[in-house]
Amino acid sequence: MTAITTTEEAPQVRRRGPGSAVRQSATVAWRQLVQIKHSPETLVEVGIQPVIFVFLFAFVLAGQMAGSREAYLQFVVPGLIVQSTVLVTARTAIGMNTDVTKGLFDRFRSLPISRTAPLIGRILADYVMLVWSVVLLLAFGMLLGFRIETNWGQLIPMFLLLLAFSFALSWASVLAGLLSKDPESVQALAFGLMLPLTFISDAFVRVETMPGWLQAVVKLNPVTMLADSIRGLLVGGPVGQPVTKTLIAAAVLLVVFAPLALRAYHRER
């Protein structure tokens, strides 16, 4: 057995610590966002879905749902904001999986950088996309008759709440992205989960119209809690209780999925 000795001092480790983790996350977020410059169609892709949904709900469904377009928009726009949040989060999973399958994550893991920066950076970048899609959704909704009945200042707590919720939900998305074998299966998985999650809630339909057993499920769904919070903030009604519930749900999502996602990230592939 040959004696093994340190032959030379390695350079000072200087790429660790909370300060550099934040900076590295910001760099990863920059990488995501600079892509928009080269493919601005991404902005359309992300924006088109909420616009189509607002149109669909305002003109196709409103009559049956609430009798008038304006009345239903007041109810459904907050629900659509939640749906957008969930859909943008699904993008996180797809992008994450692309990085894994293309070997970019192997490179990240071989660099002397914070282990979480590649994950947090992407989550941050996707939050920017979320803000964009919600702004578009609100603008189009207002064009068709949606009104903020409280005051515009309520948009600030709403965006903060969306940030908290999407940050927590993103970890579930990161996990799905890391565990799936290709982007197509992520897409299938994401839609398999996201559709029931948004429809078995009061995002689009009042919970009172549903059978009792389902109401129990709907009330436990974080999508319901977030939709109720946004209604409270923008249209009026109770705020404290739904916001508290939403934050608790976000905390639970974070506590459950962040460790799982980090474990999957460190898992040997």
């Binding site: 032959t7 390695a10 350079p11 990488r31 192997d106 071989s110």
Partner: protein, 310 residues
């Protein structure tokens, strides 16, 4: 001698399959080790362990004295990795790809840009610097990938099948770049399925098959030790082929004949002169008599079970 890479008894299982049974490696700083083997031999597993992406089940590995499992961060400070697939971001330009890594590694904006531009220049990518990587050819992508692994100025780089899928031209270009990095003092561990590549680039070759080392040495010693030269005799008179065959068999103990040329693998050069003498004594006129050195290809096939099956 400064040892850049040392590995002792590396073993790794994936479920039921033993990817590596026991692998030892020694790579001197500033040299190139070619890790040669067929698909599934365990080459990538070795690279992933050395690059801190995988933990070995047994054994130890050191990069410039730093233990890959105990101080992976120290190791990551001095290594660069290019995997089997060019890990470049298609939607970023060449310069952005490198800028991104430079910033990630803590360089200032100006510093990162300077590094990016000089790497692109060195790798012949200056003209394509501002195009997105998705417009790049296979060879350009590989070069960008290699540039990306050099942003942190590593002392040891791992290249996992760097030229797989490239056309000969692009391959030669990449070889030149790798040689250039070696001249700059970088230690390279490169895996390849191509003997020619190992022969061209490596100072030392380690042949792995089914998770263990089956041979090691310089390209020359491997050729000499494992492959024996082949003697070929073609008598001027085709009718005498059988006599020649009998004679060769007597001296060397084996022969093959296609009815025109007699071939035998010789053990030592003494056999050669014996054959010449015996042919002369028997009065057989020879149209052709030659000894051919074995190619690395033959050596490889002889060494690897999987290769032999092909």
């Amino acid at each position: 001698m400064t040892s850049a890479i040392q590995a002792r008894g590396l073993a790794k299982r994936f479920g039921e399959t033993a990817a590596l049974t026991s692998v030892d490696l020694d790579v001197e700083a500033g040299t190139v080790l070619g890790l040669l083997g067929p698909n599934g031999a365990g080459k990538t597993t070795v690279v992933r362990i050395l690059a801190t992406l995988l933990r070995p089940d047994a054994g130890q590995a050191f990069i410039h004295g730093h233990d890959v499992t105990k101080s992976p961060d120290r190791v990551r400070e001095i290594i660069g990795l290019t995997g089997q697939f060019a890990a470049v971001d298609d939607s970023l330009t060449g310069v952005e790809n490198l800028l991104f890594l430079g910033r990630l590694l803590g360089k200032s904006r100006a510093d990162a840009r300077g590094t990016a531009l000089s790497l692109l220049e060195r790798f012949g990518l200056s003209d394509a610097a501002d195009r997105t990587a998705k417009t790049y050819s296979g060879g350009m992508r590989r070069r960008l990938d290699l540039a990306a692994c050099l942003v942190g100025e590593p002392r040891v780089i791992f290249l996992d099948e760097p030229t797989t899928g490239l056309d000969p031209n692009a391959r030669d270009q990449l070889w030149d770049i790798i040689r250039g990095e070696v001249r700059r003092g970088v230690t390279v561990l490169l895996t390849t399925q191509y003997l020619e590549e190992a022969d061209q680039l490596a100072d030392d070759i380690v042949v792995v098959d089914q998770g263990s080392v089956v041979a090691r040495g310089t390209p020359e010693t491997l050729k000499r030790e494992v492959g024996r030269p082949t003697l070929q005799v073609r008598p001027a008179d085709g009718a005498q082929v059988d006599r020649v065959a009998a004679l060769v068999s007597e001296v060397i103990g084996e022969h093959t004949s296609d009815g025109r040329v007699v071939k035998a693998r010789v053990r030592d050069t003494a056999a050669m002169s014996a054959i010449v003498r015996r042919l002369d004594d028997a009065g057989i006129e020879v149209a052709e008599l030659s000894v051919r050195e074995p190619s690395l290809d033959e050596v490889f096939k002889q060494l690897t079970v999987t290769g032999a099956a092909v």
